[in-house]
């Protein structure tokens, strides 16, 4: 392959982009197609089902400043997390195989912390979890993320 051939191919590519561009709405249609194709089947979402910030303080069982978050995955397992200052503790429940599972805590500011689980599914992370945070659970190829939660 010569440089001249490559340059001519580049020119041809630019020409085709001009001569026969995709219809204006094509990309938007395809984004909608992918979104509607229920990516959640494979790309699971951790859905926030309970948040101590939404509950009367008295029900938080004397946890004081701690923030409790409960997420459900569509597959049936769940993640509980307690955020207390720079300590984030939690547990994955109803997950059959805990081996190789990793939990990642991220802040919208770009910091992230990843840890494994102990034999009963507990994890503990020392992290400055402030601002917007989210959890991601990886099990081999399967990944489930929560939406961002304001702390």
């Amino acid at each position: 392959m010569t440089t001249g051939d490559n340059r001519l191919l580049d020119d041809l590519r630019d020409m085709w982009r001009l001569v026969d561009p995709p219809p204006p709405g094509l990309t938007a249609t395809m984004i909608a197609t992918v979104a509607a194709a229920d990516l959640d089947d494979e790309w699971e979402l951790l859905v926030l089902v309970r948040d101590s910030a939404d509950e009367p303080a008295a029900q938080v069982r004397g946890l004081g400043t701690a923030r409790m978050l409960y997420f459900n995955a569509a597959e049936g397992w769940s993640l509980e997390a307690e955020i207390d200052g720079d300590q984030v503790r939690g547990q994955l429940l109803d997950l059959d195989d805990l081996s190789g599972v990793e939990v990642t805590l991220e802040t919208a500011a770009g910091e992230s912390w990843t840890t494994g689980l102990d034999e009963v599914g507990f994890f503990s992370i020392q992290a400055e979890a402030t601002g917007s945070i989210r959890f991601t659970v990886r099990r081999g190829q399967a990944v489930a993320s929560s939406r961002w939660v304001e702390i």
Binding site: R13, M15, R17, V19, P21, L26, V34, S145
Partner: protein, 203 residues
């Protein structure tokens, strides 16, 4: 006019080349796998125009091309976990679109046997006169040269031009050519373009 906008989006404001769609696709796919759920939109935005050109190279009209591209993305949703190397996501999508385009062409021929010859010889809905009229000199000379090529050359060059790293092995299967002949065929097709550019002159 819209076509000119497409061009200026491709080049940066200072005339430099922006990150290629294939590189954007890799970055977006890696980010998506790392947990950024919105990155899949960037992947679709980067690759849909590329898939358009690959599919249109097979001579599909605009509607069929959209169908093939949509099927490609639905296949991606179903099978993305089988893409072992995230760096290969663009090639994976292009290969899938090429297969879809080739299969769609076969089905169309079967469905309309009477029009077989017409379908094989015409690039339907190709390019309007208005579009050609707004092309700059360079593009219109190139377009003129490309129209002198046979269908096989036109298809091969357009597909290769939009491939990330040309994979001659899978191309040979899809275009029904021996692997060893793709490089030489490509060179021959490009030589024909050059000849047409010099002899065709102003066209």
């Amino acid at each position: 006019m819209g076509t000119m906008v497409t061009m200026s989006e491709h080049r940066g404001a200072g005339g430099q080349l922006e990150e290629s769609p294939w590189d954007k696709a890799r970055g977006a796919f890696v980010a998506w796998r790392a947990g950024d759920a919105t990155a899949v939109d960037d992947l679709v935005s980067a690759m849909t125009p590329v898939l358009w050109h690959v599919v249109r190279a097979y001579g599909h009209d605009r509607e069929s091309a959209e169908d093939v591209i949509q099927a490609t993305w639905l296949g991606f949703v179903r099978l993305h976990q089988t893409i072992e190397d995230p760096q290969a996501v663009a090639s994976w999508l292009i290969t899938s679109a090429r297969r879809g385009a080739a299969a769609h062409a076969r089905t169309a021929r079967r469905a309309a046997p009477v029009e077989d010859e017409t379908l094989a010889s015409v690039l339907p809905d190709e390019v309007s006169a208005e579009t050609v009229a707004v092309l700059d000199d360079e593009a219109s000379r190139l377009w003129g040269a490309v129209t002198t090529l046979d269908e096989r050359c036109r298809k091969l060059l357009r597909v290769i031009a939009f491939m990330d790293r040309p994979d001659y092995h899978s191309l040979s299967q899809d275009l029904d050519m021996p692997v060893g002949s793709i490089g030489p065929t490509r060179a021959r097709c490009l030589a024909k373009v050059r000849t047409a550019l010099t002899t065709g002159g102003e066209r």
